[in-house]
Symmetry: C2
Subunit: 333 residues, 2 copies
Amino acid sequence: MPYHLRSQEFSFIQRYFSALAGPAALGLCDDAAVFTPPEGRELVMTSDGMVENVHFFSDDPPETIGRKLLRCNLSDLAAMGSKPEGWLLTFARPPHITDTWVARFTQGIAADQAEFQISLMGGDTISTSGPLVLSLTMLGSVPRGQAIRRQGAKKGDGIWVTGTIGDAALGLKARKGEIEDPSGYLVERYRVPFPRVGLPLFGLASAALDISDGLVQDCAHLAHENGLHALLEADAIPLSQAAKNAGEQGFKTCLTGGDDYEILMTIPPEQEKTLLENPLQQNIATQIAHLTTPHGIVPITRIGVLTEGQPAVTVRDKHGVPIVFPTMGWSHL
Amino acid sequence: MPYHLRSQEFSFIQRYFSALAGPAALGLCDDAAVFTPPEGRELVMTSDGMVENVHFFSDDPPETIGRKLLRCNLSDLAAMGSKPEGWLLTFARPPHITDTWVARFTQGIAADQAEFQISLMGGDTISTSGPLVLSLTMLGSVPRGQAIRRQGAKKGDGIWVTGTIGDAALGLKARKGEIEDPSGYLVERYRVPFPRVGLPLFGLASAALDISDGLVQDCAHLAHENGLHALLEADAIPLSQAAKNAGEQGFKTCLTGGDDYEILMTIPPEQEKTLLENPLQQNIATQIAHLTTPHGIVPITRIGVLTEGQPAVTVRDKHGVPIVFPTMGWSHL
């Protein structure tokens, strides 16, 4: 009586994940992926996990959950000025996650794989009695010595952010029914962030990180890593129209909520000058510039400056008065 | 009123994981790790997760849980003939996991990091309301073109395994109180596998994989991947004395249980001849040889052969009669 291959895990992987797999995955049949590192480049690697009912809601569309997981990790690579190459996934599946759910989850990812030109390299599927837990490891690369770090800023460097701040934090509030979101814009920003992949940081930014824990908290990281004080001008912080509509309380949520996945960076004065003097991109009055990426034009806005002082953050209003926040940001523990 | 860095997650990582971090981790302060790939080598990557009360027991020693997680991933790299370089961890922490637990978990890992000369590159800590979920991504390297795959075997290649089979599966039964384990040997093998890191597979094995789902199930994978039939001789399968003591029912558990983390490989006849003619390593009668690794001498035993026929597995007894198993192996879903 010969014994045939009949592993449920094997067929589950083949059914839902094979279509996502690239050459490094070896058909998802081997013990590990094999990847030839690109010549002259360093590897950049990050892992980010998400838990059902902590990082997303059970009834969020499965497509957006997969995309959000992928994009959070892409954002980490973008903050280092690196190019994504591929990813591995651990999928801890509870009994309530149906095959249909998984099919929709992987469909969302498939669309983003095409957008960001990456593929699945490998992973693991395991069962759990608890909530769905997803852990994604993203591999990227950057020319040697060109990774941008959180350290590297100097006193006088301007503090800049991509896009607009706080939409996702307000989106979470809207998702919970705490605020209005008539257009659905805020909830969509909470569900599907725009990772700033391909942002040309090398030669421009002296330090960078992605804003995942809230602008004030992540500015505190920046201040701490560089031993400098981050002084932000509240009026300069770029907000979407939907966020502006949320008023003063909404403003505090924007600055201390999480899930922005915009890039926070410091730019030395000489680079700022070049950036704002470029006639195609300048807006000296508002200190907004634009950077070109393979995924579109990204607005960047100067929101403050690094100064001497304690490694902490001050956000001041137009009268120079520091703003008091009820909490500083999102902590995962 | 300036805002200081006071993220609990940040201090948790610094307290417990900094001591494990190597140069690629950049002090665990950045968005991603930066790793310079070794010249002339390919990268090998695997992710493996473990869930509390699925892959380990809540009251297992935290030290052994960390080591088992690390070693399961090391085993995947070993099966590809590759050398480990470093790892990333996603730690989904429920409220019942105390700081003391985490300290012991990381202490176990620290000891193994020294043994296998690897270091932590990065990761993510998140909270969960469910069981503890751990996901580890291990990065390794291999000279270009020298990764050993599951495919590559030919008809007539011998089937070999490292070490002894089934101790961990019996250890799980002992852990549940279903069988005796007076010496504690079996439970220890369940808790802390021996990954066969550094096994010199290139030039020797035509295909290899690690045995994680049970010998019969993993032989079915081997058969399936190579389009050949795996014919195993029950009497040749190497068992520890503790496993022999478990009798006939124990033998079936050994072959269909999981968690061996030994290497299953195929060796072409000409390499087998060389291996068994080496006067220092031979045991032609029992078809046992020995391979040298940086972590000690590893016995390997010939347990069968790949033949023409349906891609499936037959285990026959000394009279040539196929053995019937109640289940074929462990499936994670």
